[in-house]
Amino acid sequence: MSNTAQNLFQFDTSTLVFALPEIFLLSSIVVILLIDVFLKKSFKNITYYLSQIAIFITALLSYSLIGNGEQIIFSGSFIHDDLAAIFKVAMMVASIVVLVYSRTYLNIHNLFKGEYFVLVLLAILGMMVMVSGYSLLTLYLGLEILSLSLYTLIAIARSRANAVEAGLKYFVLGAIASGLLLYGMSMIYGINGSLNISEIAQFASGASLQSSQQLILNFGLVFIVIGVAFKLGAVPFHNWVPDVYQGSPTSVTMFLSSVPKIAAVAMLIRLLIEGLGSLQDYWSDLFIALAILSIGVGSLVALMQSNIKRMLAYSTISHIGFILLGFATGTMTGYGSAVFYVFTYVLMSIAAFGVVILLNNKGFESELISDFKGLSKRSPWFALMMLIIMLSMAGIPPFIGFYSKFFILQQVVNSGFIELAIIAVIFAVISAYYYLQIIKSMYFDESDNTSPISSSMDTQLVLSINAVLILAVGLFPNYWMNIALSVF
């Protein structure tokens, strides 16, 4: 594998091949941006297809690099390993699906612009850098590329007051979080004199650490954890999540709620497990607190929501709690379970927003849970898809959502935190209420609106595959779990 890859790229900077996906995507962005400038408005579809192709080829490139072991290039600031490659493939696939779902929505709401797709591509590039970042600087750089693209994406519907408000809110709070993260990084850098993750790891695990050095290290750790927690949307750094989810155009919410979570988890792994793994005792405690708060607040507050996007926002918060719980166990299997969880979460979240966005395709923003009334009569197939998604999110077997929760809780119990598992399960039961509520209104409530949902063929197909996957992965959970475990 490594030989063929090198044959492709026969000059002295042969290690560049490991950054090929990023290089390709960046070049594509430039080309697409240029092409888009010269396209008439009626040909904007071309930008869409070019973007999809670019993402697809990037995914293929990332995929072809799996199995090359660990390669650290660019003077130690960029890493290629299986974790990076698998995460990238997952992000690409998720992005492609998101864009498929978004297309009709963007057309109807007059957002089908070249900038939109270029910004999405830039966000993806930022996430790839995050996933492959091996120094504090590259990680931060990736995060900022992502964040800046997202701020703009949210506010791209300039005429809509709440979209602009959401963008601004996210920008202001995100800037504070970035500041905190950067502050933490500067402390780590200050104490050990290197930005490189492996050197930081070496330093932090050193036996000759003085107590003052330890103190500064922990200071830095707290700030970094908070930065990551903000990106993930964990309580108490979650305040932006519901407002931004609700205010953003639904297509952006769908993107925001799914793909960046993968990147944030990758950054978490790079910084806290690979970098500051020796401080695991400290950050585990923090994670447990954040996790329980997230699961609790996410489950309880979601009960009171009437807006589906807000409800899903709180549901995300509670899912994030489970992911953090997986990391808090501090075991390899625990990490693997968390990675498995984030993948399955993305699978379910995209599908859920996919159905929400279908409801929106009518030209008005329908965002209320009551809009699901009578869906089983209007469009029985989509109602069935939503049923699968909601049951899976609630964690009911044999759907995938059950196994992701199961693996996490299993690790939590194995690590001796039985009371944590009990609390998590109780909240999971409570959260089942609002998922089932949607099912109830789809199947048991009557609606005045009886017209079926119109949708394009590709959306229907992809959505069906997406929902069927939720079931299918649930039937073969171990195969996917082993993939998740293999990245460590």
Binding site: V172, L215, N218, V222, N239, L303, F476, N478
Partner: protein
């Protein structure tokens, strides 16, 4: 080989999926072609597997294909165990299934649910393969439930018929009783062996022989009886037999496939598979034998008073299942499997022939309204004759060998009450011959009682119906003769079955056996032969020669007739005791515990509590950026303080 076994299992599943989801798009022809192709592939490969394992004598294949779940020490896998026993079952299941698939083309020709029906029977075939090829209890249970599900769906296939819906509900509920026992048995196995894998369980079986549970019940007996309760549900043994006659509400092809040849024999297969467990418990074996004998004798008696062509065959199935169960009880597992095989062929044949008659009669099933069909339907007539002769055990035909061997095995058995059971199975031979030929004569011979309109349309069924009949008639006639020796005495099944040293009936049977041909000539001096002849003659007298005698007896013995016609009152008892009892119990739970305690106090109470907390936290979400920022900074300060000052060795000392 792994790929080959996977193909056997998956080919019908794929066919089923195509037929089920795309049936309406593909059309009838494509649907039946795809499903038949799938089953045909399975049949061919099953024959190959049979040749590979049984004839060439290669060792058994036992391998896990996929680990479905692993938690703690327990891993649940999908795996295949293919040994000689499985290979025999594979051939029987796939062949009968293939015949039924072909038959369905003709039988369901005018039905709206044509593609759905094909999807179901292919799905059934898949589930049955999963069941017989399983190498662990979990997959066995999966197959067990899956065949039950398809059976349920197919009994209620004509769901606009109220009786069909009632029947499938009944089948479903009665099987739940059996499955509960089965599941408890599996749970006990898991509890004491810590594994669900057959091989591991059977290897460690000696570790648990002495163990007793709850008030010195032998553990092994408890496990075996619980597992057997599962078999009683699925294989319709008294008192869990009540669902099988009702299942005749389903279309005839599935009566042949599911309720005669394959699914109902799953219990027999399961007990044979578990022979290492059952051999350790004399009590369980005696229990099995007695239940089997009761079923064999008393269910056969009911066949005499039935007038619905399918119900007669159904009661005969019950009785024959009883025979198989008796064979299991006396440790003659290979004889049970032998009878299972021959029975699968001739009973499927009888059902399909009955179906052929039903089609010709425009769905009239009452044998009192038939008669004299011999000349109109020659193929159906001759194949039915072969099937009936096989069923009653006429020397030379398949059923003769298998049934005779069961009777002999009982004869040599050392179990308590074996002499009573011997009497019951001999009496059963008379009864079998009587009801079989009563039906046969009433349908095909004598004067026609068919109404004029139907009579004018009466003709032989199309090829898709007659070909399966002929194909099944061949093994019904000959398979016993050719396979009795290798199957019972020269070790086809030896490797898959274990028999305890104290259970000698098989050995004695073996020492008495000379050849298949000799059995025929010897039969003239045996009880079963004369009982059978007597049965046929009696049937001839009552149904053709002096029909009025039947009425006379009916009037003379009103009491017995009443008992038989009310089916021993099982249904009424269930209705009064279980149905009403559970209704009352349910009402109690509903009104007092559910509505009062759970709904009002627990559910609504906790929901209110959760809502209360939710509304408590919600106001934090003010929507103002500066509130959010403030909240973030506050949380940061709190966390920082916590990290720095907490723990046994805080990083910072407290300032005071």
């Amino acid at each position: 080989m792994k790929l080959l076994y996977l193909t056997i299992v998956l080919a019908p599943l794929i066919g089923s999926i195509f037929a089920g989801f795309l049936g309406n798009v593909l059309g009838r022809k494509a649907t039946h072609s795809i499903t038949i192709l799938g089953v045909l592939i399975s049949t061919v490969l099953s024959l190959y597997a049979f040749n590979y394992h049984v004839l060439e004598g290669n060792s058994a294949f036992n391998q896990n294909i996929y680990t479905w779940l692993a938690f703690g020490d327990l891993s649940i896998s999908v795996g295949f165990l293919v040994d000689n026993l499985t290979a025999v079952m594979l051939v029987v299941v796939s062949f009968v299934s293939l015949m039924v698939h072909i038959y369905t083309i003709g039988y369901m020709h005018d039905d709206d649910g044509y593609t759905k029906f094909f999807s179901y029977i292919s799905l059934f075939t898949f589930a049955m393969f999963m069941l017989v090829m399983s190498n662990n209890f979990m997959q066995l249970f999966f197959g067990w439930e899956a065949v039950g599900l398809v059976s349920y769906l197919l009994i209620g296939f004509w769901h606009h018929k109220e009786s069909a819906v009632e029947a499938n509900l009944k089948a479903f509920l009665v099987n739940r009783v059996g499955d509960l026992g089965f599941l408890l048995g599996i749970a006990l196995v898991l509890m004491y062996f810590n594994t669900l894998d057959y091989a591991q369980v059977f290897n460690n079986v000696n570790n648990i022989t002495g163990i007793t549970i709850v008030d010195d019940w032998s553990l092994i007996t408890t496990i075996c009886i619980l597992l057997f309760i599962g078999a009683m549900g699925k294989s319709a043994q008294v008192p869990l037999h009540v669902w099988l006659p009702g299942s005749m509400e389903g279309p005839t092809p599935i009566s042949a496939l599911i309720h005669a040849a394959t699914m109902v024999t799953a219990g027999i297969f399961m007990v044979s598979r578990m022979s290492p467990l059952f051999e350790l418990s004399e009590t369980a074996l005696t229990f099995v034998m007695i239940i089997g004998a009761i079923t064999a004798l008393f269910m056969g008696l009911l066949g005499i008073v039935q007038n619905d062509i399918k119900r007669v065959v159904a009661y005969s199935t019950l009785s024959q299942l009883g025979y198989m169960t008796v064979a299991l009880g006396v440790s003659a597992y290979s004889v049970a499997i032998f009878h299972l095989m021959t029975h699968a062929f001739f009973k499927a044949l009888l059902f399909l022939a009955a179906g052929s008659v039903i089609v010709a009669m425009h769905h009239e099933q009452d044998i009192r309204k038939m008669g004299g069909l011999k000349s109109k339907m020659p193929i159906t007539y001759w194949t039915s004759l072969i099937g009936s002769l096989a069923l009653i055990g006429f020397p030379g035909f398949a059923g003769f060998y298998s049934k005779d061997m069961i009777i002999e095995a009982v004869h040599y058995s050392q179990l308590p009450y074996a002499d009573w059971v011997y009497f019951a199975v001999i009496a059963g031979v008379f009864i079998t011959a009587f009801y079989s030929f009563r039906m046969f004569f009433m349908v095909f011979h004598g004067e026609s009682r068919v109404d004029k309109h139907t009579e004018s349309h009466l003709h032989e069924s199309p090829w898709s119906i007659t070909i399966p009949l002929i194909a099944l008639a061949i093994p019904s006639a000959f398979i016993g003769f050719y396979t009795i020796e290798p199957m019972l005495f020269t070790g086809w099944l030896e490797s898959a079955i274990s028999i305890g040293p104290s259970h000698t009936s098989m050995e004695i049977l073996k020492s008495h056996f000379i050849s298949a041909l000799e059995l025929i000539s010897h039969s003239i001096v045996t009880w079963p032969f004369w009982m059978m002849i007597l049965g046929v003659i009696t049937a001839w007298i009552f149904s053709l020669y002096r029909t009025e005698w039947a009425d006379w007896i009916k009037n003379k013995f009103k009491g017995i007739n009443y008992i038989l016609e009310s089916l021993y009152g099982f249904d009424r008892f269930n209705e009064i005791f279980f149905v009403n009892g559970f209704k009352r119990l349910g009402e109690f739970f509903w009104k007092v515990t559910d509505a009062g305690l759970i709904d009002k106090t627990l559910v609504n109470g906790s929901a209110k509590l959760a809502g209360f907390f939710g509304s408590l936290i919600r106001p934090i979400q003010t929507g103002f950026v500066y509130h959010y920022a403030f909240f973030m900074i506050l949380s940061l300060l709190f966390i920082l303080t916590w990290v720095l000052y907490s723990g046994e060795n805080p990083l910072l000392g407290l300032p005071f």
